[in-house]
Symmetry: C2
Subunit: 350 residues, 2 copies
DNA sequence: TTTAGCACTCCAGAAGGACGAGTGCTAAAT
DNA sequence: ATTTAGCACTCGTCCTTCTGGAGTGCTAAA
C-alpha cells in the first residue's frame, strides 16, 4: 500500500471532512482546502485511484466520495495524528475519577457515563471475569440465636456477605465448629473443585449442623460464579439518535436493540494485550455492528483482572479524539484500581 | 360526566381501536363493529358530542377522532375492563421471580427487563430510599497483620463489608478494642446523630488506633448514605422506537434522552399508598413526559421500604393489559421480599 | 331521534421537473 | 508524464402539483 504523499493528504482530508460533516466529499471541496495547490481535476484523478484501491467509495455516481472501512483502517494506522486533550477535557475526566467512589460497580457506571458525555457516543464497559478464583476464608458472625452472617473473602480480595436466618436456634459453639470446618475444607478450591463428593464428606463431619454446610457453600459458589461472570453496562444510548446516520429509524433500531439487549458480555471481545483497540465496520463480528466502529481501551483492575471501556458509533467517528480520551481515562482507571488509591485498596463490594 | 350508554360504548370502541392501531378512528369503522346497531351518521353526532366534552380530539378536519387525555382518564377510571393474564404470562413472570436471585439489585434489574419484554415498552424501576437507618453492629475481622474486613449491619438487616489495608501492622487486641468501642459508641445512630463531636470523643478513647475510627465510621456513613439514596434503572428503551408514534426522531429523541439521563430518582414520583398509579399525558409533571403515559405499581420490599416498577409509553397504551401484568409482578415482588422467601430472609448485599 | 345524501376539507402519496453537485473523459498545457 | 480546463452526463434531492379517498358537518327526510 504505497501511496504518494499527495494521495495520502487527499485521503486524509476526505476522511477528516467526512468525519466532521457526514457528507460525501467532492473533489472541489478538497481542492479548496488550504495547502492543496492542485486543481480539482487532478484530485479527481487521484480520487479515482484511491477508489480503485478500495480506500474510497461512492454512494452513487454523482455524489462525492466517502471513506471505506479499508480507508478508515489506513487512516487509523498511518495517517491519524494524535489528538491532544484540552485542559477542560482532562479536568473533566479527573474530576469524574476523583469522586469519592467506593464500589467498583459505581466507578464503572460513572466512567461509562463520563465517556458517553465526553464523546457523544453510546459507551459500554465491562470487566473481564476472573478465572480460577478460590475462597480464601470464611467467617461466620452470630447476630441472633437464629441468624448469622456469612462473610466470604476470595483470593482476589473480594469480600461478600449474606445474612442467613434459620428456622431453629444455634449455639456459638456450633457456629465456631462450622467455621473451622469450612475454612479447613473449602478454602483454596476453585468452582470445579467443590464437588458433591466433598460436600457429602463435610456434611457428615458437621453432624447436627450438616444443613448449614450446603447453605454456606452454595453462597460461596454464588460468589465465585458471580466473579467469573462478566457483565456489560451501557450508557448514553440516546446519543445515537443525534447522529445523522441514525436519523432513519431503520438504521437506528437494530443497533439500539442490540446495545440494550440482555447484557451478554460474550458479544464484546476483550482485547488481551492491546491497551487500545479499534474495530472498524465489518471488522466487528456481530452483525448489528457491521456498519459501526467500536473503539475500546482496556485497563487494569488489579489482581490480574482487566476491564474494558469503549464507545460505539458510526464508522465515521473521530478516532483521534476518541482514542485520546479513552486512553486517558483508562490510564486513570488503571491507576485508581491497580495502585490501590481506592480507600482500602483493591477490595470491592458487589 | 353523565354519558348515555351508547356514547360510552362508542368512546370505548374508539379508544380500544386507537390503542390497537394508533390510527384515528372514523365513524364508519365504529358503525361496522358488531354490536353497533346504529348508522355512522348517528355515531358522527355522538362523536361530535364527545368531542365537545373534551373526550375526543381531531388531528385535523377530515381524519377520524383520537382520544384526548381526558378521554383516556375516563376510560381508565370507568370503562376499562380488567384484563385477565394468560397462563403464559403468569408463567413468564413467575419464572422470572423464581430465578435464584440473591441480590436486591439483580432482582430489580431482572424484574425491569421482564416488564419491558412483557409489555414492549421501556420500563423503569426504583426503590424508595430508607430513612433513619442506623448501624446495628460492627464486626472487624482480621485478615492479615495489616489488613482487616469491616462488616457493618444495619437495623434494616442490610449487611455490607469492606476490606481495609493499613500502612502499619495491628494486633488482634487492638482490633478487639476497636470493635467494642465502635459497637458501644456508634450503633443505633442515624446519619445526623453521628457528629464530629462524637467522632472526636471516640478517637480520643481509641488511643493509638484513633485513625482507624474515622476509617470505619466513614465506611458506615457511606453505607447509611447509600441506603437513603434512591436509584432508578431503566430497561428496554429501544422498544420505544418500535412504536409508530416514535417513528419520527424528533419525538423519540427527547424522550429517550430523558429516560436515559442521569438517574435522578426525584423525577419519578413514588406513589405513597396506591398500589397502582396511572399518569396520563399532561398529568405528568416532567415536560418530557407530557405526551406519554406512565403506569406504575409499587411493591413492598420489607422493612418498611417500598419500590416502584413501571412502564412509559404513548398515551395510547393498553392500560388494561399493562396494569394487569404490572400488578401481578408487583405482588410477586412483594411476596418475594416482604415474606422473606429469599434464601436467608430479607438481607441483601450492595 | 335516527338516517341518507351530499358538499366540503384536508392529508397522503404519486408524478413530474428543475436544480445542482459531482463525476469521467478528452484535449490542451506544462 | 502530469496537470488542468472544459464539457457532457448522471443521479439524488427538493419542490410543486395533482389526485384519490377517508372523514366530517349539515340538511332534509324517515
Amino acid at each position: 500500500m504505497n501511496l504518494s504523499e499527495r494521495k495520502k493528504r487527499i485521503l486524509r482530508a476526505i476522511i477528516e471532512s467526512y468525519i466532521e460533516t457526514a457528507e460525501p466529499v467532492g473533489s472541489k471541496a478538497i481542492a479548496d482546502c488550504i495547502g492543496m495547490e492542485v486543481s480539482s481535476a487532478t484530485i479527481r484523478n487521484d480520487m479515482a485511484d484511491l477508489e480503485a484501491m478500495g480506500l474510497l467509495e461512492k454512494p452513487h455516481t454523482s455524489a462525492g466520495r466517502i471513506p471505506s472501512s479499508k480507508g478508515y483502517r489506513l487512516y487509523v494506522n498511518e495517517l491519524m495524528e494524535e489528538h491532544k486533550l484540552s485542559l477542560q477535557e482532562t479536568q473533566r475526566i479527573n474530576q469524574a475519577l476523583h469522586l469519592k467512589m467506593q464500589e467498583l460497580d459505581r466507578v464503572l457506571d460513572q466512567a461509562g457515563r463520563v465517556v458517553s458525555q465526553l464523546t457523544n457516543y453510546p459507551s459500554f464497559s465491562l470487566s473481564s471475569g476472573m478465572e480460577r478464583v478460590t475462597v480464601r476464608r470464611f467467617d461466620l458472625l452470630m447476630v441472633e440465636l437464629n441468624a448469622f452472617i456469612i462473610v466470604v473473602m476470595t483470593d482476589t480480595n473480594v469480600v461478600r456477605n449474606r445474612l442467613i436466618r434459620l428456622p431453629s436456634d444455634l449455639t456459638q459453639a456450633q457456629l465456631q465448629m462450622l467455621n473451622t470446618l469450612l475454612n479447613t475444607t473449602f478454602t483454596g478450591l476453585t468452582l470445579e473443585e467443590i464437588t458433591p463428593e466433598l460436600m457429602r464428606v463435610a456434611q457428615h463431619a458437621a453432624g447436627e449442623a450438616y444443613g448449614l454446610i450446603s447453605l454456606v457453600v452454595s453462597f460461596a459458589i454464588e460468589v465465585l460464579e458471580s466473579l467469573e461472570h462478566r457483565t456489560v453496562r451501557t450508557a448514553g444510548l440516546a446519543h445515537l439518535l443525534e447522529l445523522p446516520e441514525y436519523r432513519s429509524l431503520e438504521r437506528a433500531q437494530p443497533l439500539l436493540s442490540y446495545l440494550s439487549e440482555e447484557n451478554d458480555a460474550a458479544r464484546f471481545p476483550v482485547p488481551k494485550d492491546d491497551p487500545m483497540r479499534i474495530l472498524i465496520g465489518p471488522e466487528n463480528v456481530a452483525d448489528a455492528l457491521k456498519d459501526t466502529s467500536v473503539v475500546m481501551a482496556s485497563y487494569d483492575i488489579g489482581e490480574g483482572m482487566r476491564g474494558v471501556i469503549g464507545v460505539v458509533g458510526p464508522t465515521r467517528m473521530d478516532y483521534a479524539k476518541i482514542t485520546a480520551r479513552l486512553s486517558y481515562l483508562a490510564e486513570g482507571l488503571s491507576k485508581l484500581f491497580g495502585q490501590g488509591q481506592l480507600p482500602g485498596g483493591k477490595d470491592e463490594e458487589t
